[in-house]
């Protein structure tokens, strides 16, 4: 296994370091050594990757992934989730704690980290629960979780409905300087709802979830954030009102970051069509005006990261009445193509798109990687920007196939993924895990 790799003549887009142009990138022993405008000599024993016509990017970082292990290994495991991640160009993922043994203590954190180490594919950063058992009642031992390796704390999947508890969470977390990641949903406003409240829910006769269910909670938490001087990360922002509040809060200097999922900036509530449960998620697909607002927020810097909210589910969870259908879609293997749709449509520059997948998320959570300066981790994603392909859920490396994007034409494909200087994905094939290497 070569430990020196030379990426030759690719278009290197590295927003953090202001690089966008044809470069050679030399990596050795897991680190970037040199990024050069001129041709570099090929070191002996180096593996050379001819990247002519390709993009050479910092590895993508997904702040919001559900790996389902422990507890629902039939939907996904740390291993299969990592395979899906590297197939999608992600070299790091943050694993949500709402597994079927909740990650609210160091044992679960360590289990996830051990499984990730055994998989040997990408970096997995666990997020710990805010409250024990995600019950929204008592704080989990945040200090223990952080020292075991959790990079954020969140009750994702559920909001913290108790405002006083949320206030204490933000206060308490300041001593560890981890972001408090929030799923914003006022359950009294969303109760019984199956999709966004709007013309489509009216047409379909489905109980709607008003945008205010999210916006009201964002407003509450920004008020608490200002008071506590804490650090807040708003997960899967879905509507115009939320981005407006977050934009203002950022301007006034609050430590707030946020992410948007590709499905929320690509699809609107009409995608529910005739009760397609593959378009059912929380927060729901919103109105087209919300989609426009999210796109503007991606452009103007209000949004820090594109995160997939990769949520694997089985066929039987979706092949039911819409109201009974379980929320969520898989996202790791479609994120790049959907993001590039915005680039091809002229909404985002390539540079900004890459920033939202790399440096943006790294900075939001204080994670390593996300750029390619000398000394940075040799986490590299090679993309063919012109490759045209069609999403085929049956070909996913994820264990689940729940996506509304099956059959969608895409332009722009992940060719290779490198983690710490090791090739873990190459033209459709996931590399062997370290375990079996």
């Amino acid at each position: 296994m070569s430990s020196t790799v030379l990426f030759r003549r690719g278009r290197v887009i590295d927003p953090r370091n202001g690089v966008d142009g044809v470069r050679d990138v030399l990596v050795r022993d897991g680190k970037v050594v040199e990024v050069s405008e001129t041709l570099l000599p090929v070191p002996s024993s180096a593996e050379v990757v001819d990247a002519t016509g390709k993009w050479v990017l910092p590895g993508f970082i997904d702040l919001h992934v559900h790996l389902r292990e422990p507890g629902e290994e039939g939907k996904e495991t740390v291993l299969t989730g990592c395979r899906a991640a590297v197939a999608g160009g992600f070299t790091a993922v943050v694993a949500m704690p709402n597994t079927k043994v909740v990650n609210d203590n160091a044992m679960v954190t360590e289990l996830v980290l051990n499984r990730a180490r055994a998989a040997g594919l990408c970096h997995v950063y666990p997020a710990g629960a805010i409250t024990k058992g995600l019950k929204g009642e008592e704080l989990a031992e945040m200090g223990e979780l952080v020292s075991a390796g959790c990079v954020a704390i969140t009750d994702d999947g559920r909001p913290v409905m108790n405002a006083s508890l949320m206030r204490r969470t933000l206060q308490y977390a300041t001593q560890f300087d981890v972001p408090v990641m929030v799923h914003e949903e006022d359950l009294t406003l969303s109760a019984g709802g199956a999709m966004h409240e709007g013309t489509t829910s009216t047409r379909l006769g489905l109980r709607g979830i008003p945008a205010s269910a999210e916006v009201a909670m964002v407003a509450r938490d920004l008020v608490l954030l200002e008071e506590t001087k804490g650090r807040l990360h708003v997960a899967h922002v879905s509507c115009e009102g939320s981005v407006r509040l977050i934009r203002e809060a950022k301007r006034s200097g609050l430590r707030v970051t946020c992410e948007v999922a590709p499905h929320h900036f690509i699809l609107d509530d009409r995608a529910v069509g005739d009760y397609d449960t593959h378009a059912k998620m929380a927060p729901p697909l919103r109105a087209d005006t919300d989609v426009q607002a999210l796109r503007e927020a991606l452009v103007d810097g209000t949004v820090d990261a594109i995160a997939t909210d990769h949520a694997p589910h089985g066929v039987l969870d979706k092949q039911v009445e819409f109201e009974k259908g379980i929320n969520g879609i898989v996202g790791l293997e479609t994120a790049l193509g959907l993001t590039l749709e915005l680039v091809h449509a002229g909404v985002l520059t390539a540079n900004r798109a890459v920033e939202l997948l790399t440096h943006g998320p790294a900075k939001a959570f204080g994670l390593p990687g996300g750029h390619l300066a000398p000394g940075a981790p040799a986490d590299v994603t090679v993309v063919d920007p012109d490759a045209e392909w069609t999403v085929d859920a049956h070909q996913f490396h994820s264990r689940s196939r729940n996506t509304p994007f099956h059959g969608r034409k895409q332009k722009g494909l992940v060719i290779q993924t490198w983690v710490a200087g090791h090739k873990v994905f190459d033209k459709g094939q996931v590399g062997q895990s370290k375990e079996s290497r």
């Binding site: 013309t199 829910s201 009216t202 047409r203 006769g205 489905l206 039911v320 819409f322």
Partner: protein
């Protein structure tokens, strides 16, 4: 074979030919028991509805079909059998049509994707109730000949009403103007883009209407804070004798039943000269025969 999952998506000419066909099934018309002789129609009711189920039962019998009645009580649903399992089991008995009532909006759409026979929606959640809308339209056509240029005022809990949605699509397709009226908590967003006018003032809307269709008030809505009380509802949106007097000459009163007397409709109005409620019921069987005939053709 075609499904009747909702009125939405049906063209005017298709609706008109179905309604024309229903005339051939009115009492006194020639015998039609040969049409589905030897065939099975499955009634799949996950929600109690004696009226609709009986009406479809009689319709199927009138076409010579045998009827398989399946109701959720004591069934395997409680044992975790999915809707699709149930539908596939019913399909295995070889029906030409599944007539289905379900409390989830869209449930018939799911079944229709997975079975080969016709699926007829007999009411799904708060989505559509197409056979009700067709019998309403049939009743109005009997009166007026054509619905072109007529104004139908639909009053009440539009948010939860499948009757309102089906009627909106049906009446619009047949050329009528539809005005929806109710308290703002029970009027869902976006009705205008579906083609309705919306008002919260019954007294202002009433004199323009050629027909007033009262929707049933679900009494539990009061507990969910959609309404302060049924008393207040009756005061603001109930069709009482004083309001009836301000209706257009010849305008009719409709109700899909069962009526909460004294809430959405005063007894004197329900039984009064403008009421076509009993005609609605008796037209139900003829219209449902036409639906079964058209969908299984």
């Amino acid at each position: 074979m075609r499904h009747l999952l909702g009125i939405e998506g049906w063209r005017r000419d298709e609706l008109e030919s179905l309604l024309d066909r229903a005339k051939a099934h009115l009492p006194g018309a020639p015998d039609t028991t040969h049409l589905l002789r030897g065939k099975v129609v499955a009634n799949l009711f996950f929600e109690d509805s004696t009226r609709t189920r009986t009406s479809f039962h009689m319709a199927a019998k009138g076409l010579g079909a045998s009827v398989l009645n399946w109701t959720h009580t004591g069934s395997s649903v409680s044992k975790g059998e999915t809707l699709l399992d149930t539908a596939r089991n019913i399909e295995a008995t070889g029906p030409v049509a599944i007539v289905m009532r379900h409390r989830s909006s869209g449930a018939p759409h799911l079944v229709a994707k997975h079975v080969k026979c016709a699926v007829i929606n007999a009411g799904d959640g708060t989505h559509e109730h197409p056979s009700q809308a067709l019998l309403d339209a049939f009743t109005l056509r009997q009166r007026w000949g054509s619905l072109d240029g007529r104004t139908v005022l639909i009053v009440g809990d539009v948010l939860h009403s499948r009757v309102a949605r089906s009627n909106l699509h049906c009446l619009k397709a047949l050329g009528a103007r539809v005005v929806m009226c109710g308290p703002p908590t029970l009027i869902p967003p976006g009705l205008e883009s579906l083609g309705a006018e919306v008002t919260h003032n019954l007294d202002a809307a009433l004199p323009r209407a050629d027909a007033v269709m009262c929707l049933r008030v679900q009494l539990e809505r009061q507990e969910q804070a959609f309404l302060p009380s049924t008393r207040e509802y009756a005061r603001l949106f109930g069709l009482n004798a004083a309001r009836e007097e301000r209706m257009k000459a010849g305008a009719v009163v409709m109700h899909p039943g069962p009526i909460n007397r004294g809430v959405e409709l005063a007894p004197a109005v329900a039984d009064g000269a403008r009421s076509v409620i009993l005609e609605q019921v008796s037209n139900g069987v003829a219209v449902r025969r036409a639906i079964l005939e058209v969908c299984t053709a």
